[in-house]
């Protein structure tokens, strides 16, 4: 299986700390890749580097065979993204917000309606985005990522702010995307149980370092072999992080 995203010793260093350290990541085409890690592990920084929002200090990455920064514009054309909290123009309606993105991407008009319907916002398309609830803003952000059916989706905590029904709905939607849109998804979440239901492959990051990369069954095998609990992903994850922190001198 070919890799849609590949990083080679990717590093991001700020003046006083290393956010991402020597990361070698392989995200396979047509899969949902879960990005796991505690706060400050470097998940968002890595995603921002893929979008050119943050410049790597060292290393490189390629997306769909295109190198950054040489093919930045082409890479951005192929990525739909939702980073941290949704970003939008509060003075515009949901539909107008998507219309702006549609025009930048030079897409046909019907894509706006498609995206609104996909995330269940079509009914509220004429409401100002600033008047949306947090869940609706999150859906709008997701619609902005989905518009144009990009081959790669980068979603940073896409279920943030959603109620349980909304989480279930968005999870079902994301789960269906690789088949319906033929896309690859990189998704981060703090909800580990969520990731268990969503992802095909997972990467675990701690203090910018990659601790594990593979399928969920490989993670279970790894956990059994290393003596970690395997009852659920949350316990496995916490044990891996705990041990890494101890190795690093008790740093949490």
């Amino acid at each position: 299986m070919t890799n849609m995203i590949e990083t080679h010793h990717l590093t991001k260093q700020y003046s006083d700390f290393t956010a991402v350290s020597d990361l070698n990541l392989h995200i396979k085409k047509g899969r949902i890749h879960g990005f796991l890690g505690p706060n400050g592990a470097g998940k968002s920084t890595t995603m921002k580097m893929f979008l050119g929002l943050t410049k790597p200090t060292d290393g490189s990455f390629e997306i769909n065979g295109k190198m950054f920064p040489k093919d930045r514009q082409q890479i951005l054309r192929e990525i739909g993204s939702l980073i941290e909290s949704p970003a939008f123009y509060g003075n515009l309606t949901g539909e107008e917000n998507l219309e702006i993105i549609r025009k930048i991407l030079n897409l046909p008009k019907r894509f706006v309606k498609d995206a609104l319907e996909t995330v269940g916002l079509y009914e509220y398309r004429n409401r100002l985005a600033k008047k949306y609830s947090l869940g609706m803003k999150q859906r709008l952000g997701l619609a902005g990522a989905l518009i144009g059916k990009p081959p790669i989706l980068i979603l940073d905590e896409p279920t943030n702010g959603l109620d349980p029904a909304g989480i279930h709905e968005i999870r079902t939607l994301i789960r269906s995307l690789p088949q319906t849109y033929d896309c690859t998804i990189l998704v981060s979440s703090h909800l580990l149980s969520e990731m268990e239901l969503l992802a095909d492959d997972v990467s675990i990051l701690n203090h910018g370092r990659l601790l594990f990369e593979g399928t969920l069954s490989e993670l279970k095998q790894y956990a059994v072999h290393a003596g970690y609990p395997v009852e659920n992903l949350e316990e496995t994850f916490l044990s891996i992080i705990e041990e890494d922190n101890l190795k690093r001198g008790g740093k949490r």
Partner: protein, 241 residues
């Protein structure tokens, strides 16, 4: 340039009504002033246009610079308020072209205000005085000169607005720049090249002091300089992010 896209982003921000209201307010000043002081003005021996410009120019220029500051602040406030700028940065869109489109819109809005002001001055001249032979041409030259001298201030203010996430900071900087103009000595040529001072220079005064070409050269140089500076800022921001 994505001018139409940037114009759409300004919907419901109050940008367009602000400039429309501002233009009407600015146009009302010469008319009201001449109406209330008609006798004083018409008894002077100078040409009508010169009297009107002498009486109203500073106030009109002050309003224009004030609109410029407010317009620039509004244009970038919508980008920062709900983090829309982050979404824009993750799309295949050049930050330089967005900046240029915003400058273009602000210059267009200021051109509209200046045109309304010119119409107001033209009305006063025709109504209370007599228009000379090349009146229309002269009027266009005067207000065209004013518009060209506003370009550096527009780029500088847009640059400030694009750097400040908090609109009140960019607004504060703009207001300080306006107040700086009021304390600078008017007779000093070098100090009048300060970008916010340039719009206060009127063509007849510049003609009298033989500084027309100096002001135009200063405007062009500052425009190029701030344009290059903005391009550098965009590059540095991307590299240091």
């Amino acid at each position: 340039m994505n001018v139409s896209l940037e114009m759409k982003k300004l919907k419901r921000t109050g940008f367009y009504p602000a400039f429309l209201f501002g233009a009407v307010l600015a146009a009302a000043i010469p008319i009201l002033q001449t109406a209330f002081r008609a006798e004083y003005f018409t008894n002077q021996l100078l040409p009508g246009l010169e009297i009107l410009l002498g009486a109203n120019w500073q106030m009109l220029a002050m309003l224009n610079v004030f609109f410029l500051v407010i317009g620039a602040c509004m244009m970038y406030h919508i980008e920062f308020a709900d983090r829309a700028i982050q979404k824009m940065e993750s799309l295949p869109l050049s930050a330089g072209r967005v900046f240029a489109a915003k400058c273009f819109i602000l210059l267009g809005a200021l051109l509209f205000v200046i045109l309304i002001e010119a119409v107001s001055i033209a009305f006063c001249t025709i109504h209370w005085f007599s228009a000379g032979q090349n009146f229309v041409q002269e009027l266009f030259q005067i207000f065209g000169f004013e518009w060209i001298l506003m370009v550096p201030a527009v780029i500088l203010m847009m640059m400030v607005a694009s750097l400040c996430r908090n609109m009140w900071i960019s607004l504060g900087i703009g207001v300080i720049c306006i107040f700086t103009v009021t304390i600078l000595p008017h007779e000093n040529l070098i100090l009048s090249f300060f970008p916010f001072s340039l719009p206060f220079q009127s063509l007849p005064d510049a003609h009298d002091s033989l500084h027309v070409s100096s002001y135009l050269a200063a405007s062009c140089t500052e425009t190029a300089l701030f344009g290059i500076l903005e391009a550098l800022i965009i590059r540095v921001r991307r590299n240091c992010a």
